[in-house]
């Protein structure tokens, strides 16, 4: 059985007078060790779907229908305690904005170690610190001991994103949801983060749901791709298939809007 099974997920907001559906009939399956890409224009519902999967959409003014089974747990109907025991343990999230997604007043070390503190209370603080530093060095952060006592604002965007990833990887999850982890970063750093994700996937066999609107990144990282438009999945399939033989107009448009650099043709 696959690690994650989402069927007919619908998300509806009620905070305006007319209810607003932002995700329709979302279907998704991810196997252990698989990297799945989710692309689509801004506002197409990528983040909403991902947050629903991570159990982070629990506001009064919205409803979710369908089913999300993660690792045998029904994420939509289980108790909050059950949900909490999964979040940060077997399922972790790396968010879109590394600049704002870290608590500005907590030290890096605390934030990386927080899920370990919450889910592995038996680990002593000293051990925890050791492990945190270890994880931090795994994501190629230099001088993790020094970083441990620093605050987010003292780090560059790339470093913060690594910290986010380290925090998500602190107790090796089965599924890592990465919501546009590179959008805010420089090209050179973007490439490094992609390498890092690949590395994690290979080393721990962690499944990754990679969300982006940068098609070139998706192409270089993912095994499978889903394309979303206005809350619906309009196309899905293996990366190669979708990029080389897009079925939908929309997908074609997306792919064609990547500025081309046609140097390859000329002799060099």
């Amino acid at each position: 059985m696959s690690l994650l099974q989402v069927k007919d997920l619908n998300i509806e907001f009620h905070d305006h007078i007319i209810p607003e559906t932002v995700v329709y009939d979302f279907d998704l399956e991810i196997d252990q060790g698989e990297i799945v890409g989710l692309v689509g224009e801004s506002g197409s519902g990528k983040s909403m779907s991902a947050m629903a999967i991570a159990g982070l959409l629990s506001r009064h003014d919205m409803t979710k229908r369908g089913s999300i089974i993660f690792d045998g747990t029904d994420m939509l109907n289980c108790s909050r305690d059950k949900l909490r025991s999964i979040q940060g343990d077997t399922l972790s999230v790396v968010f879109q904005e590394p600049m704002t997604s870290l608590d500005p007043l907590k030290k890096i070390g605390y934030q990386v170690g927080e899920s370990m503190m919450l889910h592995r209370p038996d680990i002593s603080p000293e051990d925890r610190k050791k492990r945190v530093i270890e994880v931090m060095s795994h994501v190629d952060l230099d001088e993790p001991e020094k970083l441990y006592d620093m605050y987010p604002h003292e780090l560059s965007g790339g470093m913060r994103q690594r910290v986010m990833i380290a925090a998500a990887m602190a107790i090796t999850p089965k599924l890592l949801i990465a919501d546009e982890p590179t959008t805010a970063l420089d090209v050179t750093i973007q490439a490094e983060v992609i390498e890092l994700l690949k590395h994690i996937n290979r080393k721990h066999n962690t499944s990754i749901l990679f969300i982006s609107h940068d098609l070139s990144l998706v192409r270089s990282l993912c095994d499978r791709v889903l394309v979303m438009q206005q809350g619906r999945i309009v196309e899905s399939g293996s990366t190669k298939q979708v990029f080389e033989h897009p079925a939908m107009e929309y997908t074609k448009k997306l792919i064609s809007s990547i500025p081309k650099v046609e140097i390859d043709d000329t002799d060099c």
């Binding site: 224009e41 090209v187 490439a191 070139s216 997306l254 809007s257 500025p259 081309k260 650099v261 390859d264």
Partner: protein, 244 residues
């Protein structure tokens, strides 16, 4: 030459923590380049390397420490990096567009209105947008308004500071198309700032690579993309996935 720059130094003065002294941080350390008429020059560099600083220094919005800037253009204009903060949220689009005309020409209000309608058409927006506030526009539309404002005086030199990086891929493509068109139609010279090598390639005639306050490489687009000399350029191209 519409612009020549010689040995430009720019620095920020800041009071650093735990110090009474001003801490001078030199961001640009001796730039030298020029821009021809009707030419788009791309300026590429990682975040924080001083691209926006250079743009503002060229237009005199921040003081440069030393060096020479020769700009043969009466009212050079700029499209700012962030379309959200570069439009006054309390003013209607019509006010924003007419502002340069009001301050720098003696057109009557009808003439100004006409001109605003016309320029809005040029950037592909309906004239009904004139009565809207910036908050009622999408990011792409705002960026068009910014471009429109920068062109309304008819100046022939523009600086565009990452005009597309805040935009969606599909809208990005539209805006780039617009810039191409405008350049041809109005014979503009543009300093185009971006960190996206792909975008730069698709638009510019010449490219400059900025690193650590210095231009490490500059020249014709194809020359640089095909045959990068500097290590940093190579790294940039590589991480952008542009393999040779």
């Amino acid at each position: 030459m519409i612009l020549t720059v010689k040995d430009l130094h720019v620095s920020y003065k800041n009071r650093k923590k735990n110090s009474l002294k001003y801490d001078e941080k030199e961001v640009l350390k001796g730039l030298e380049f020029s821009i021809d008429e009707n030419e788009i020059v791309g300026l590429v560099g990682e975040s924080g390397c001083g691209k926006s600083t250079l743009a503002k220094a060229l237009l005199g919005l921040i003081k440069s420490k030393s060096g020479e800037i020769n700009l043969n253009c009466k009212h050079p204009q700029m499209v700012f990096q962030d379309p959200y903060s570069s439009l006054n949220p309390k003013k209607r689009i019509s006010f924003i567009l007419e502002e340069p005309l009001k301050n720098l020409t003696d057109m009557t209000s009808e003439e100004r209105r006409k001109k605003a309608e016309w320029i809005l058409g040029e950037v592909g927006l309906d004239k009904e947008y004139l009565d809207r506030y910036p908050s009622e526009l999408s990011g792409g539309q705002r960026q068009r308004v910014c471009i429109a404002q920068s062109m309304i005086l008819g100046s022939d030199f523009l600086i565009m500071d990452e005009p597309v990086s805040a935009l969606d891929v599909t809208i990005q493509a539209q805006v780039l198309e617009l810039i191409r068109e405008l350049k041809i139609k109005h014979k503009l010279s543009i300093l185009f700032i971006s960190h996206d090598l792909r975008v730069v390639y698709s638009l510019c005639d010449k490219v400059m690579i900025l690193k650590d306050g210095l231009i490490v490489e500059q020249g014709d687009r194809d020359k640089i993309y095909r045959n990068p000399q500097h290590e940093y350029t190579k790294k940039l191209l590589k991480s952008a996935g542009i393999t040779i």
